[in-house]
Symmetry: C2
Subunit: 427 residues, 2 copies
């Protein structure tokens, strides 16, 4: 792992800077925008996540001497470009949607303005962070919706890249998950962490009662005992034997969770453990969670599906040059949705608070109607990095946004974006 993040960058960003420095265009004032041309198939909304994490990385975006030496040695850049990179500081403006905001095809979720060179060098990092975190947050939000107020714990670290795991835990918490298994997410982002034991702990011991007794002795009756290493019914009896009816929870990680949850609830109740909760895990996605709605489940553990975006592992966001020296630009071969020029976005609402549409105006400002909400906020102004909302703020913001969209937008089934984006060119 390098100390800086500057080489988490595509080679061509630097060759472009090299050419632009030598022909004098590197200093042209540009505007780049991040948006999705479409949502993953059937998804009704996207969720903005990762922006705060990204802004911190941009603040520290530097090329250290080892990295410069590598770029020179391999001839990726020439000497003037190396000097320019060595002195790099972002001095422009960054505006964007808040973390936790919903987005739709065409929503300009991040706008980066400055010289061509200082903006283009950030492209790869910006897209890596946002494409990953937004993908996880969208999948996680669907799971939270499917859980209908029950807790969901993120436990997918082992199913994704080790650093992606930590970002995924953050994005899932933003989406409303109650905790993560990932300790680094606890240290770095203050996400509550949770976990008690795996099957290996039971197998390590001579028998299940010994393992449970040990766990309760070490962690107290406020722990969760994993009861499916051998026979689940016997496991539950052993659990209550070890911890008494004060046991906080049992976890079931395999089998037909629907049937097992019911049987376990009946057995726990019959043993007097009426307050002991049932945690289920094992390949749960939003559909499996929804299918358990009628069962006596208290807590869901989600792993693979959340960290891989439940079928949509990347958010499809692009970073496009839309303005050069005040002139709107657009690639001709693109489809008609793409509009050049810097955009301003508002979300329009009924008086009841229900969102109706998003108005995105190129090179102008939307008419202001009552109940409109401006969607863009300043993160960086003239190179000054402003205070950012907390992760808790982002989590609450998303909760409010979900309340505001038309109810169809929360359906798990495939459908159109919950609200349309109306693109207006003021020019």
């Amino acid at each position: 792992m390098t100390a800086t993040t500057s080489l988490l960058t595509d080679h061509y960003e630097l060759t472009m800077i090299s050419a632009a420095l030598s022909d004098g265009t590197a200093d042209r004032q540009c505007v780049f925008e991040v948006f999705a041309r479409r949502l993953p198939t059937g998804r009704r909304y996207g969720v903005v996540a990762g922006t705060t994490r990204l802004i911190e990385m941009i603040k520290d975006f530097r090329f250290d001497p080892d990295e410069i030496a590598f770029l020179r040695r391999t001839n990726v850049v020439d000497e003037p470009t190396a000097a320019w990179l060595s002195a790099y500081r972002f001095t422009g403006d960054i505006d964007g949607y808040a973390e936790g905001e919903l987005f739709f095809p065409g929503s300009p979720i991040l706008t980066v303005a400055g010289t061509f060179a200082e903006c283009v060098v950030l492209e790869t990092l910006i897209l890596s962070v946002l494409n990953h975190d937004c993908a996880i947050a969208a999948a996680a939000t669907r799971m939270v919706t499917a859980a209908r107020g029950r807790s969901v714990i993120e436990m997918g670290s082992r199913r994704t890249h080790e650093e992606a795991a930590t970002a995924a835990a953050r994005a899932a918490y933003l989406a409303g998950f109650t905790a993560t298994s990932n300790l680094a997410a606890g240290l770095r982002y203050g996400v509550p962490t949770a976990g008690t034991s795996a099957h290996a702990f039971t197998l390590l011991h001579d028998d299940e009662p010994t393992a449970f007794a040990s766990q309760v002795k070490a962690l107290g009756t406020g722990t969760t005992l994993l009861v499916d290493t051998y026979d689940i019914s016997q496991g539950i009896r052993n659990a209550i034997q070890a911890a008494g009816t004060e046991l906080r929870a049992v976890r079931i990680d395999s089998g037909d969770l629907s049937v097992l949850a019911q049987q376990s609830r009946e057995l726990l109740d019959s043993l007097g453990a009426t307050e002991t909760k049932i945690v289920v895990s094992g390949d749960l996605d939003e559909y499996a969670i929804a299918a358990l709605a009628a069962e006596p489940v208290d807590i869901y553990g989600a792993g693979t599906s959340v960290v891989t975006g439940s079928g949509a592992p990347t958010a499809g966001l692009v970073y496009k040059l839309v303005e050069v020296e005040g002139r709107p630009v657009v690639k001709r071969s693109e489809n008609k949705r793409t509009v050049g020029g810097r955009k301003t976005a508002v979300r329009r609402h009924k008086p009841t608070g229900t969102a109706t549409e998003e108005i995105v105006v190129s090179q102008g400002v939307p008419d202001h109607l009552p109940n409109d909400r401006l969607l863009q906020h300043s993160y960086v102004a003239n190179g000054e990095f402003l205070d950012v909302p907390s992760l808790a703020d982002a989590r609450e913001h998303l909760r409010q946004c979900l309340i505001s969209i038309p109810w169809e937008g929360l359906k798990l089934s495939a459908g159109d974006p919950a609200i349309p984006v109306v693109m207006v060119s003021a020019a």
Copy 2:
């Protein structure tokens, strides 16, 4: 980003250690194995990748004082466990398949032996690294196979988490890709990097001829000009106008690549640029690459599909306790494929060199037949970290392995594993 990798770990690994330290089982000698119960649906082989990267991380696996303070402050561990973690050094044995080796359901690709505590604390990191890198390598290998000797360049950094991008670039190179766009992969792993320019560079300039002239001036005629910002035919004319017939390559990033490759070849040839190569990119996966086999394409650029595992973003590897103090252990509720006990694996071949099956023996050694190949090598012996093969070695090893499997195994279509794994219990 923390300096160490120790908190890239699930909470429950540490609570298990806490309980095991207090009941005296933490020091029991254990064997854990990494294997896949199944391959992603329809896949015919898995590819081992990430092991070298992992072993380096295990070598440096330490809990620093800030991390220990966090674990105490949040009550994740008690004081004796904190002391144990502070002193952590892996002192056991790690054996495994070589990077670039193929694997199948049940192949014991990594074996970790030592005390329960020292082995279990590595679980999350081991699985994160291997599940990610093996997933990317398998998808990338299919793309290389589909490309039939043509070059494939990895350019997906922006579609995955920023650190995952670097690991993905490494895994794709191992799989036979010729280069990556990711600069950090160049610095960290010596992967060749490549890249020239994006549409933004053309849009930055007053017109396409000016942009091309600038790029050629800065980067020489050995560069690749991106010709699809406006009209592709005019783009190709402008490219040859700017660089002459010495131009190394043109890139097309949109549209019907099959038709466009043919038209572009004809046009280049008619302009005398018969040696100018054609690079195509834009949502290419192994099937799209295969579909272009008959077209005059020289180089493929693959992005999203490779970094997201082309539909299988995680390899499904698990880390299971199989032996405690020499006694095989197994979770009763698992399916019949799971066998307890430490495994030894060989791959059996015909005299012609074609692999026929993999023999995996629990608590014993396979009969040695001529043409058998032992699959496990020592990475760590009694806490001593041994030299590991280079990335170039791994790349060549995979190439040889692909030659050795039955030809059906290389088909892109859905099918069974290329060879069966025969599980034998010697006990």
